[in-house]
Amino acid sequence: MLNKIWNAIKTVLEPIGKVMSGIVNFILLALVYFVAIGLVSIIMKIFGKHFLEIKKQNKKSNWQDHKVTKEPIEKYYRTF
């Protein structure tokens, strides 16, 4: 009996919970995006900094130096 009541409550509350978490996510992520990302982006652009090469540079070659060779094992423990 208790199980049935609990299941019924869960059935009702689950979709409400999902909607609420969606709203909270939306608000929090919007805050992070428009405040943190937005501010940094605007400030850096004022100083002429670009984070991606999306403007054509018309270089002779677009290969970029990135020499990768074997390194001490400790370097591979890093996630960066």
């Binding site: 992070v32 670009h50 002779k60 677009n62 970029q64 130096d65 060779t69 591979y76 890093r78």
Partner: protein, 578 residues
């Protein structure tokens, strides 16, 4: 005993691979277990299988090697949003939760899910690709090219390998990407990204490259094969969609999936394939000039472009080309593990990948118990001889056969372990297969499998074998009429060769079929229906047969006739999708 587990996941084609003392003992994609095509989730099932196959637990692993550096990838993601603010909000909103929940917590996710307390090594994505090809190749030294959509920042890289060391020299960086160009056109032509790129390749021979000049406007291809995009034609650097409005103005409206494929779509596909090949060959010629090596290893999703692969030796100075069968991200699990064992731990290479049969197998007893438990009507063969004779006979009489033998393949191609086989000399077989089983687009070709010793009689090919079905070669003109169901519209075929030593039952069926028909070629297509991963277990195989028009299933020593058994509640028409 040094056990190393390689893992790739969270983007597409999650997979795991186990290396024991330098020998690859198991590798599999997660999708085969979860039945979710291109599954991106943590590959727990694939890992469990690998550990079981290796007879070890996670506590007996010396290292786990992960196929990328997550923080570097996150840096690229942040850079995209910083650059494209405020237009990238939706993509930020959609992507960030997954990063916070899993992708930024890879070490803790691995340790928690596997109850593992050892060390985790993070290998750069393109280095893992490079290792997945070179370190298991037959070459002592080789030039290496990796090309895919995007890893952390790199979209392509090149370098060389010598013994157990790899040196990468240069890279192309996001957003300039051959893989993403191909995916953009895939999306524009109404097919699913990270899934249907190979369909565009199959579509391309039907068209003429009349849009090549338009592509040249978008992509600046330098003499050394590096590329620079006009990004106003693309949206993928800040949106969830790929072609921009300008791209649509140039090439016409995006095709809806249900719409007919027109000549214009075919011409766009042909033009894309032409510029892709131009880029690849220019990259390779540049790579040869830098390394002067005659052997070449390629990896990354673009390495699955078998049409371009088949033309490499004609268009570049390279003499020998090797591509690992799971060339895309799934194979990077193997690359990460091999790099850890051979390069980081400085162990000599002692494994050459001659077979893709690295997945699960099922014993005769297991299969018989499954058949008995499910009350499936079957016939048991007394010998291999009777099995191959009957299978060849059924194929010769135009039956479609589900072929389930031994260990499952690693990689996207069915290579005679989980295959559907049929009569290549029947001109109607393509239609029969499409009606009975595959439900796929009519423009897509079916692939041939041929006995190794006969390959030069049928194909204009510059090597003696192609066991992994990664190269397209032209059929000899005079042979095209003999096997019409596996000859593509341009006279080519994406062949697989096989031999007694590689897969004896598979080979013997081909030779037995040759005795009946005079042709040592069968149609070999993957054992699945459209939208489903290739079958893994006997149950998957049985379900697939019962839900489709496959006439017989040859599974281990057993023969099952579909008509002898009650049809399950499994409607392939409902399941079939893109």
């Amino acid at each position: 005993m040094t056990n190393i587990l390689g893992i790739s996941c969270f983007y597409h084609d999650s997979a795991a691979c186990l290396i024991k003392d330098g020998i690859v003992v198991a590798a599999a994609e997660e999708e085969r277990f979860t039945r979710k095509k291109h599954d991106t989730g943590f590959p727990l099932n694939a890992i469990e299988y690998c550990l079981k196959e290796g007879g070890i637990t996670s506590q007996q692993l010396a290292y786990i090697a992960f196929y990328e550096k997550p923080l570097l990838k996150f840096e690229r993601l942040l850079s995209q949003h910083l650059e494209m603010f405020p237009m990238s909000y939706w993509s930020f909103y959609k992507a960030l939760p997954a990063w916070l929940n899993e992708k930024l917590r890879v070490p803790s996710v691995i340790k928690k899910k596997l109850k593992y307390n050892g060390d985790i090594l993070f290998i750069e994505h393109h280095l893992a690709h490079a290792a997945s090809s070179f370190l298991v190749s037959p070459f002592e030294e080789a030039a290496i090219l990796t090309i895919d959509g995007v890893g952390e920042w790199a979209t392509a890289s090149y370098g060389y390998g010598k013994e157990n060391d790899i040196t990468l020299l240069k890279e192309l960086k996001f957003p300039n990407s051959v893989g993403l160009l191909y995916s953009t056109v895939t999306a524009h032509l109404g097919f699913s990204v990270n899934n249907s790129e190979y369909k565009i390749m199959g579509l391309s021979p039907y068209g003429k490259p009349i849009y090549y000049d338009k592509f040249k406007k978008i992509v600046d291809v330098k003499d050394d094969g590096s590329i620079e995009f006009d990004m106003s034609y693309f949206d993928y650097h800040y949106k969830l969609t790929m072609p921009s409005r300008k791209f649509v103005e140039e090439f016409g409206p995006i095709r809806e999936p249900h719409e007919e494929v027109t000549q214009k779509h075919k011409d766009i596909a042909a033009s894309l394939q032409k510029i892709t090949e131009e880029i690849i060959f220019k990259m390779l010629n540049h790579l040869y000039n830098e390394t002067k090596m005659e052997n070449l290893c390629i990896a990354g999703g673009v390495a699955l472009n078998s049409v371009a692969n088949g033309k490499i030796t004609k268009n570049t100075p390279f003499k020998n080309v090797w591509i690992q069968p799971a060339a895309s991200d799934a194979g990077a699990s193997l690359g990460a593990a091999a790099y850890a064992y051979n390069t980081i731990l400085s162990n000599k290479r002692k494994y050459e990948m001659e077979s893709a049969y690295l997945g699960p197998s099922f014993s005769t007893e297991y299969i018989q118990k499954f058949l008995d438990d499910k009350k499936i009507i079957y016939k048991k063969f007394k010998s291999d001889d009777s099995l191959v004779k009957l299978a060849a006979n059924l194929i010769y009489n135009n039956n479609v056969i589900g072929w389930f033998q031994g260990r499952m393949e690693f990689g996207p191609r069915a290579l005679g372990a989980r295959s559907i086989l049929s009569n290549a000399s029947n001109p109607q077989m393509k239609e029969i297969l499409n009606t009975k089983v595959k439900h796929r687009e009519i423009f897509r070709p079916f692939a041939p499998v041929i006995s190794k010793e006969d390959v030069h009689d049928y194909f204009e090919i510059d090597k003696d074998e192609e066991p992994f079905m990664l190269f397209v070669y032209p059929f000899k003109q005079e042979k095209r009429k003999i096997v019409p169901s596996v000859v593509h519209v341009d006279g080519s075929g994406r062949l697989q060769t096989t031999s007694e030593g590689e897969n004896h039952l598979y080979y013997r069926v081909i030779k037995e079929f040759e005795k009946l028909s005079g042709v040592p070629i069968l149609v070999n297509t993957s054992f699945n229906i459209r939208g489903e991963p290739i079958v893994c277990t006997p149950e998957d195989a049985y379900k697939c047969m019962m839900g489709t028009g496959i006439d017989y299933l040859v599974i281990d020593k057993f023969l099952i006739k579909r008509e002898d058994n009650p049809k399950d509640m499994w409607d392939s028409e409902k399941i079939a999708m893109d």
